[in-house]
Symmetry: C2
Subunit: 207 residues, 2 copies
């Protein structure tokens, strides 16, 4: 309950605090990258930022909260990564493929991030409602793109996400560094669109 109504929460102390939080999260990602996302230990993390484990509790309520913050970062990064393509209209076969390729790129760029965000690889963890709503919004975006492509059947949407998540996790667990996935992605998109009869590859303009 400080009386800081004047400057909008940018006191010199708050700045330092935000820097420390960022530093902790950076270290957490690095540690997750080397030890595995589920093997993040507070003592190791604290050591990496020059602290003891209990001091982390000045910045996060629990280990869970750290995972949650990482989850949010991931969602923000995803939104940024997809910004260009997610609003482009009209939707064409090519723009859809480009979007899918961007999504794949994002997932492959950091398998650990992918595991945290989409694979529920951390045993006790599920994102808080606020963080999860971010994810829902992103998913709604993807759904809207497909809707604008003329795909309306809910079952088809299920099929679409199943196809993409299947391809992604298969690629990540089998061949994270391979680069021959682009063709498979395009083929999948074609298969799906042909099946549901959307965005025909022939120029389908009515005269």
């Amino acid at each position: 309950m400080t009386t800081s109504v004047s400057t909008s929460t940018t006191t010199p102390r708050d700045r330092r605090r935000r820097e420390t939080i960022a530093e902790i999260l950076d270290a957490a990602w690095e540690l997750a990258r080397t030890e595995g996302i589920a093997s993040l230990s507070l003592r190791q993390l604290a050591k990496r930022v020059g602290m003891r484990a209990p001091s982390l509790y000045s910045y996060f309520d629990s280990k869970h909260a750290i995972y949650d913050a990482m989850f949010r970062q991931g969602q923000e990064q995803l939104a940024e990564h997809m910004a260009d393509v997610s609003e482009k209209r009209p939707v064409t076969r090519e723009s859809l493929k480009a979007g899918v390729r961007l999504w794949f790129e994002f997932c492959l760029a950091s398998p650990v991030r992918y595991q945290l965000m989409f694979q529920r690889s951390v045993p006790g963890f599920e994102p808080s409602p606020e963080s999860y709503s971010l994810a829902q919004a992103r998913l709604a975006d993807a759904g809207r793109v497909l809707l604008d492509a003329g795909v309306t059947d809910p079952a088809a949407l299920d099929l679409w996400t199943a196809l993409l998540t299947g391809l992604t996790s298969q690629q990540i667990s089998n061949d994270p560094t391979g680069d021959r996935w682009a063709r498979l992605l395009d083929e999948s998109v074609d298969m799906f669109l042909d099946h549901v009869g959307a965005l025909p590859t022939q120029t389908g303009d009515a005269p």
Copy 2:
């Protein structure tokens, strides 16, 4: 190095031992079902079979070895579950759909088992080479079925497994008890076969 060359390892003691091992594994599955596959604790497991934790080490070298034994059990159960359909020739669109439905049934019957076998949901665990080879054999079976259906392109095989694993994990995490997946499965199989041009739905017998 006992001199038991006569009776093929069926001494009254070995029997008791095998019973105990089975009992431990049963309790492990039950515990995994209630606590989550990754939250299996040796002390809880021991309590459930009327022991203390260290006594489990007379039967398994480590917690990892218990997971490995569970993995093997899962593979054996899968083989048994799929036995009817995996050898049926010639492969038809219907038999393929039946096989896929069996697979789905198996996965949904025990989400915990699915997570252990296919989702790598236990942080430190990966199956031993011997156990893994079992899984490889099962996978080869599935591949052979597809090959006999006329699907030879390796990329198409990737697409097939991606589609199925995507559908499975999506179903399990979103709606484990729902029963409207059968239609989606059939639709997926049709989409795939149409795309690769195998097993045409018209009676394709040459006159």
